[in-house]
Symmetry: C2
Subunit: 296 residues, 2 copies
């Protein structure tokens, strides 16, 4: 089953909410921190794993898609990367579609190494050992077509997906993305490339395996891009803590209700004070509330 | 001592050669593969570490700068990231300036997590534990100023450097980088931003801590950018196996001979057949030859 069709099933079942896993030590529940304090980076990594696993349980049914952010796991070093690997595996076993948000990008054979890490695996001792084994990966397009294509090839070989950064959610995104190049902003050129890469992958749902990252904080651009890219899945960050509202992201959906997954990280996973004994209830409620808002 | 001044010292001492560490299992010397085969990803990671450490010894004196490529270590999973960490540490202890080539880029607090991993460290148990502890990191500018600034701030706090992708060495680099935006190609806009970020960091050598990645495969652009960015260090990939020659990179240097480090990965680290019993001699000779060519 293609990535796009699996994503469509998840969104039909649970709605468009994607829960971002961006663990930060100083925001973790105090009970978890107490258990893993004094063990250095290995303790921090283990705390991320325990917290992330609990969050996965709590948001099941409210979200069908999860998006771990590689940076926060990388900050806990090799142990953190082990926790990232474990959480991705658990998420898949629980039935989530997993998007590894690592914004990778490099030239040819180097891009292929990142792509193999994301989707294929390491050839070792006559077998291929999965590394991240994610359903999809975020990719930075600045290096051009031959830098993106290894990701597309690896995704195709393993029925996975790629989300290319088009219009990011940060306030300063426009410095380069909004430059007018040959009559239209740079991000529209990237969008056109995404449309081309996606076209051969469009499946039963009318959507393909090469998506676009488009921030919720830019509703006008979202609407333009939705019209321009009818067969492209959008990964929409910026909803919730970054200021995007459910109304802002409406433009991201197609008429059939598919076409976008909307990410909330802090808003769903850290809606509590670290000392709150009912942090789990708060996470569960925040996920249900976001699900209802986005479906409404 | 600032990053720029440390880099200037290394280039004055050993010349502009930067040796790229891009380990690939199937190209490793057969003797190393035999020792570590049958141990899965942990064996591959250990083989990368052993090979990389030997290369560091062999290229000492021929190069003062090394650049591990994160992708190849990531493909060996968390164990590979541990080997990356170990090699970066050894390289620093041996006196190399280290550039972690990870092409990171993300919004605000996420970029800060990558930057802390590169330069600062993980706050755990009242101390800050280094993660990669590299002297410099490559950064992708597509997300804009507020996405690059956390890297600049972390670099400044720890006397480290950043190399921003401007004009990459791959054949398809121009798809977006060459688009004409407001009268000049996109990469010149990025170059202008780099000049602005670099200006406040210019030190005793006349060069600053915010560099630019400019491929050896584009000599004309290299010359233009050298003229436009007199105080900016260039990291020049594409020399050697990718086709760039010593003549191609001449334009990257300033009149004082400083201003560029020129990377060779495969050309220096894999100039042998895996079965060659004298692979170490081949690496040493390749490094000396590249040093002489680039100095000549």
């Amino acid at each position: 089953m293609s990535f796009s069709d699996r994503l469509a099933d998840a969104v039909r079942r649970d709605g468009p909410l994607c829960v971002g896993l961006d663990p930060r030590w100083d925001q973790l529940p105090a009970a978890i921190r107490r258990t893993y304090t004094g063990r250095g980076p290995a303790g921090v990594a283990k705390a991320f794993e325990v917290f992330g696993a609990r969050v996965l349980d709590l948001v099941r049914g409210a979200a069908g898609v999860v998006k771990p952010q590689a940076a926060f796991f990388e900050l806990a070093g090799p142990d953190g990367m082990r926790s990232l690997q474990t959480l991705l595996q658990w998420a898949r076993e629980l039935g989530f579609v997993t998007i590894l948000d690592a914004k990778r990008g490099d030239i040819s054979s180097t891009a292929a190494a990142y792509a193999d890490a994301a989707f294929g695996g390491l050839p070792a001792d006559g077998e291929t050992v999965p590394v991240w084994n994610a359903d999809a990966l975020t990719v930075n397009p600045y290096l051009g077509a031959d830098a993106v294509e290894p990701f597309l090839a690896a995704a195709k070989a393993a029925d996975r997906g790629v989300f290319v950064l088009v219009r990011t959610s940060n306030p300063g995104a426009g410095l380069f993305q909004d430059l007018r190049c040959d009559g239209k902003p740079l991000y529209r050129h990237v969008a056109a490339a995404v449309a081309g890469w996606n076209a051969p992958t469009v499946g039963a749902s009318g959507l393909g395996d090469v998506g676009a990252v488009v921030g919720a904080t830019h509703p006008r651009e979202l609407a333009e891009l939705r019209a321009e890219l009818p067969g492209v899945w959008f990964l929409v960050p910026g909803y919730g803590a970054q200021g995007g509202t459910a109304a802002d992201v409406k433009a991201a959906y197609r008429a059939d209700g598919l076409g976008a997954v909307v990410n909330s990280s802090r808003g769903v996973t850290f809606p509590f004070h670290p000392d709150d004994p009912d942090w789990e209830g708060k996470v569960e409620a925040a996920a249900r509330k976001a699900q209802a808002e986005l479906r409404g």
